[in-house]
Amino acid sequence: MSDREPLFSSKNLKLLKDPLGADNPITVQVLGICSALAVTVKLEPSIVMALSVTIVLAASNVVISLMRHYIPPRIRIIVQLTVIATMVILVDQFLKAYAYDVSKQLSVFVGLIITNCIIMGRLEAFALGNKPWPSFLDGIGNGAGYGIILIIVAFFRELLGSGTIFGFPLFEKIGLYKIGYENNGLMILPPMALITVGIIIWVQRSRNKDLIETH
């Protein structure tokens, strides 16, 4: 412990940056797809969802990392779930108290953060074997990587499906409807979220050839 590494060493920064691009939880690890399909009809709930997941992930990562020497391996999943569930209930109650409308829109999906594969995945793969600070950064990084994809998908779905951005009627203001344009009803349905995520994966892999699996 004599040579302490700086808080933002290059190794730690990598923990933050990798999930945003080459190790993105949605487009590369393909985790947490279900909620990406469910909450991305509009931008506002997507951003709240992204923040909630980031907070739950970072907090659970820190707690599990602190307890990592005391958790008996055979019951570690139960311990992890208890921690995640506690954090999710905290976030859920907070949203109900301070952002009731969004909380109602997200409905059951806040509670379902418990089952988000990204969180269990990071606890198993990272927090159980690393110190609290790197675990915290890993949580923030993966949460942000998840959030970015959610927001990109929600942007296109809200713009093309409802013609609005954050509820602002953009297409109506620039007069698109007058020349015969119509909102795309398919964008609001879940299949289009899947296709949008697919297109993001396609674009990302054609820019970064290392990500293409060869088999």
Binding site: G180, E182, G185, L186, M187
Partner: protein, 393 residues
């Protein structure tokens, strides 16, 4: 012809690799092989010798669709003037010309959008421009309601070519039938333009008043919209349904024109007669099953009448037989076609949200086609193994 050959020969060196227009090689190649059967030989891998190549095959399919298209054009004019109540003042050619001018832009938009995207992908991925779109671009207009806005046709075509075909690696690798992908995209994206009682007759939604007693509703729509227990009176006779003077998508109404196409496809061996026959068989069986229960007027419709309605015949002949998305094994073709017919009528009659089930039935079975093939092949292996064991013991 000789002049064209000379022109192509003199232009060819410019399109070789590394030459001035080297990047456009696949575009030049596509045009050259469209005009002349190529004189190259396949260099590697297994290949099949046949008298006709892909481009000639596709042209036969397009020819088989021409009767349905021509009839569709006439039918567009027929219903437009009938709605206006001017039918008896118009000559045959006036009616046809009106429909021709309505349908031609849809065909052009479909081809221009699709081919542009195909050519761009061919340049980027450095392969030849595939022939598949030749047929897809012709199919798309035939399965559209005549009043569909052109920009929607363009978007749907682009979606079908990019997400339906190119994502999977180009023509021949697609899971779903691209033309039906385009239609399904429009159906779920812009339902008000793809269903209802206004879209099937040209200009009906903008007419202030229509002729007495005229309705642009399809026959399936009439049954689906009828109040519970009431048998709707259908103003069309079975003969009219067979000839095709009923409202519907542009090319789907005339069972007669479609059967002419089917004869061409079967005679040239391009379309599988097994699929066509089994789709009709499946539909007929489902019709009879529904007749047995017959708890509402729609279920009492004669089984054979279902085969004349909507896109059933068109789907059976031109969509289900698409060699890429259908099953490959001979026994698989029977199962695949039979289930399409069965499901199409089942969805049509029992699901009020979808007045026509043919599109969804074919797309669903497209997805299951590889699975059917897998089990047919497995069953064959098992049978042969048993025979081997029997002969060994």
């Amino acid at each position: 012809m000789k002049g064209l050959r000379k022109l192509l020969d003199s232009a060819k060196p410019n399109f070789e690799k590394g030459a001035k227009f080297g990047k456009l090689h696949s575009l030049f190649d596509a045009l050259e092989t469209l005009a002349f059967v190529p004189n190259r030989v396949t260099k590697s891998g297994a290949h099949i010798r046949d008298a006709i190549d892909m481009k000639r095959t596709m042209i036969v399919v397009v020819l088989a669709m021409v009767p349905a298209l021509l009839f569709g054009m006439w039918n567009v004019g027929h219903f437009h003037f009938q709605a206006l109540g001017q039918l008896d003042q118009k000559t045959f050619w006036e009616i046809f010309w009106f429909g021709f001018l309505k349908v031609l832009p849809i065909i052009l938009v479909s081809y221009v959008t699709g081919l542009t995207i195909e050519i761009i992908f061919a340049q980027i991925r450095n392969h030849d421009v595939p022939e598949g779109f030749f047929v897809t671009g012709f199919l798309i207009p035939l399965i559209m309601p005549v009043d569909v806005p052109l920009w929607m046709v363009a978007i749907a075509t682009a979606f079908a070519v990019i997400i339906g075909v190119e994502v999977f690696g180009g023509a021949g690798m697609n899971i779903l039938n691209p033309a039906l992908t385009a239609r399904a995209f429009l159906f779920f994206s812009y339902p008000s333009w793809m269903s209802g009682d206004k879209v099937w007759v040209s200009g009906l939604s903008e007419m202030d008043k229509v002729a007495d007693g005229f309705t642009g509703e399809t026959i399936m729509g009439m049954y689906a919209q009828a109040p519970a227990g009431v048998t709707p009176s259908i103003p069309y006779s079975p003969l009219e349904m067979f000839l095709g003077t009923i409202p519907g998508s542009i090319g789907e109404t005339s069972t007669l024109a479609i059967l002419i196409g089917a004869a061409i496809l079967i005679w040239t061996g391009i379309g599988s007669w097994k699929i066509i026959v089994s789709v009709f068989g499946g539909g007929l069986l489902m019709g009879y099953i529904l007749n047995l229960f017959a708890v509402n007027p729609y279920m009492q419709v004669d089984a054979w009448e279902h085969l004349l309605l909507g896109g059933f015949a068109f789907g059976a002949v031109f969509m289900a037989t698409d060699p890429v998305s259908a099953t490959q094994t001979e026994r698989g073709k029977w199962i695949y076609g039979f289930l399409i017919g069965l499901l199409a009528i089942l969805i049509r009659v029992l699901n009020p949200a979808y007045p026509e089930g043919v599109m969804l039935a074919i797309l669903l079975m497209n997805v299951f086609a590889p699975l059917i093939d897998h089990y047919v092949v497995e069953a064959n292996i098992k049978k042969r193994k048993k025979r081997l064991q029997a002969s060994n013991s």
